[in-house]
Symmetry: none
Amino acid sequence: MTAELISVGTEILLGKIVNTNARFLAERCAEMGLCVYHQTVVGDNEERLAEAFRTALDRSDVVILTGGLGPTEDDLTRETCAKVLELPLEEDPHTRERIEEYFKNSTFKEIPDSNWRQAMVPRGARVLDNDNGTAPGLILEKDGKTAVLLPGPPGELYPMFTEQVYPYLSGSQPARIVSQMVKLCGVGESKAESQIQDLIDAQTNPTIATYAGVGEVHVHITARVSGDEDADKLIKPLVKEIKKRFGTAVYTTREEETLEMAVVRLLKKYELTVTTAESCTGGLLAGRIVNVPGASEVFQQGFVTYSNKAKRKLLDVNKATLKKYGAVSKETAKEMATGGVFAADADTCVAITGLAGPDGGTEEKPVGLVYIACYMNDHVTVEKYQFKGDRAKIREQSVVRGLDLLRRCILENYAK
Amino acid sequence: MTAELISVGTEILLGKIVNTNARFLAERCAEMGLCVYHQTVVGDNEERLAEAFRTALDRSDVVILTGGLGPTEDDLTRETCAKVLELPLEEDPHTRERIEEYFKNSTFKEIPDSNWRQAMVPRGARVLDNDNGTAPGLILEKDGKTAVLLPGPPGELYPMFTEQVYPYLSGSQPARIVSQMVKLCGVGESKAESQIQDLIDAQTNPTIATYAGVGEVHVHITARVSGDEDADKLIKPLVKEIKKRFGTAVYTTREEETLEMAVVRLLKKYELTVTTAESCTGGLLAGRIVNVPGASEVFQQGFVTYSNKAKRKLLDVNKATLKKYGAVSKETAKEMATGGVFAADADTCVAITGLAGPDGGTEEKPVGLVYIACYMNDHVTVEKYQFKGDRAKIREQSVVRGLDLLRRCILENYAK
């Protein structure tokens, strides 16, 4: 079966945004075994959209369109596709109700007239509820072809595709794709790849591929499994081998588990509480920990100490230390971590202090220099990093390394 | 003049990489005043590439292809385009020399045979030297149409386009695109659009379009300006009118200014310092403020008080208040904001307390309920929100509304 992607949006044609939706959908299609031979981008223009849709229907079994389902006048996807497929639009009472519900729970006083357009659906359409917005998705089937219309905002598209479209489309696929992830932290992508190059080269099913995130590498093992074949038999030995080669750099083998989730899981397991003492990351480390539902069990408070005065007052960092070594130093990081533990009455503390730039760097202490410390069991481990990239990237990498340092400290101290 | 982009690469169709090249080229084309109505992705397949190229030549003046110029067998762009345009391939001595030169300076001992293919160019082609690889770019002109063939790796594509293709194409362009943004916070997209529908309908040049972000709406005004025309004359009256209609909901008209940058700018202007007291957002609000380089002038410290105990200890929230009204209440938000100001000795404080879910909601206090408070000049403003979406979305919206509340309080108190 072939699938084709059409992204609708003038902002993509103008280069205002990157078409990450197409990548997401292409990846999912590949997982399902759907062959994608074409991706197209057209603007919010009826004529060109209709032409692109007709061409796609002509040469592909499944056409997935994203964008142009919003309430405003330049959102034309629903109407245009209905016209091409010669399906009349009819009001869907269920969607109307959901829109009412959505606005009742929002801060808006009244529902704009234009939003009612979103309740009009082509006859016979399968309506996909949107839990994160007002535009429902639609699946249209006609003459053996399937058209899937999805909202453009990734926050609406991704869950809708994963929860509703993926099962729908993959149900009609004879072979299924089973994948398993091994997530690493603290190893570069090319180094990670070279350590398993022999495995990558030797495999055709499953295949092994590495993907780089910020400070992380994800190793994907993807097997194509037919009917009653045992996916575990194909995948498990490889996972075991990869875990053996990377040791503690592996933080999880669960696809849905993020680094912060792995860290919170370990903290819970060993009944530890953590606090944070942040300078250049300014709360982002605490924010990542609180990403995890139920983090309150291990995290009660955090300190954002951006100024020297705040470091002294909240974390009891020595005035002399700040003067002698500076705020960005091994010594200050150490005192921040120690002070945090005592101020929050926590078992452990991660402290981050560094130069995120763009200004303030010197030859001795260049932008990107970051010290990360972790206090655990009366001992502070400090690591020094020299990160590359802009302010946002330096801060993001610092947070990842902070979480990973905490993870490694727990493993060293408790997982013996 | 119209331009069309064709990206050649199976790895894009498989979702292995994001098509950032298309974004780069689309942005450059918009700058040059070239109208891009279509972007297409095809794989390394001769038949489908030829078809896509023919279609593009048919409907556009300029076709820009990226990828598939490499030395390996699945790199087919050069040969396929030459065939479609009926131009024979001939060896280009200059390119042959450059390839020899390139390998002399590399770590390779000998030049792989396959690389000589890259010296074969269609008759009459303008050859674009590649300073960062072996594949030269090509400009082909035939029957009033222009085809531009460029290497896929961004490190080769970007400089080649900027230094050689941009001047070539823009030389033949009489018009350019000038755009201006008006950014709003606290207004929904459809409401925003309906408030300026008459302006949107009345305009063909400039055009007006709205785009929604989290808690924000961006109004884009885009003008097509020829040679010596005055862009300001076209755009400024519209900006003025839009600002008048939305009043204080407008937080900036600078494209590069984010909401947190606008807030820090106002704090600096009125010489105010701010602190943060966060529960459910767990540091993300402080993190957003610290996004802004130079935020240290207005922000010295922030409090992440996730537990009730931390709210009492760090922010002096009354035990009785927590007991009577609960942690997620107007009263607690108010005391957090007040306590933050005194604990940090700051001029103002934004406090956020809410239920980000997925668990912990009740009928009376459902998931998504968030109180945001701002202390300023001995007065606390508290706002109640009921947000939609998952944990991440609720927290992100809370941060945006927190920043916006601070912004509005500053305007009300100081910008009279």
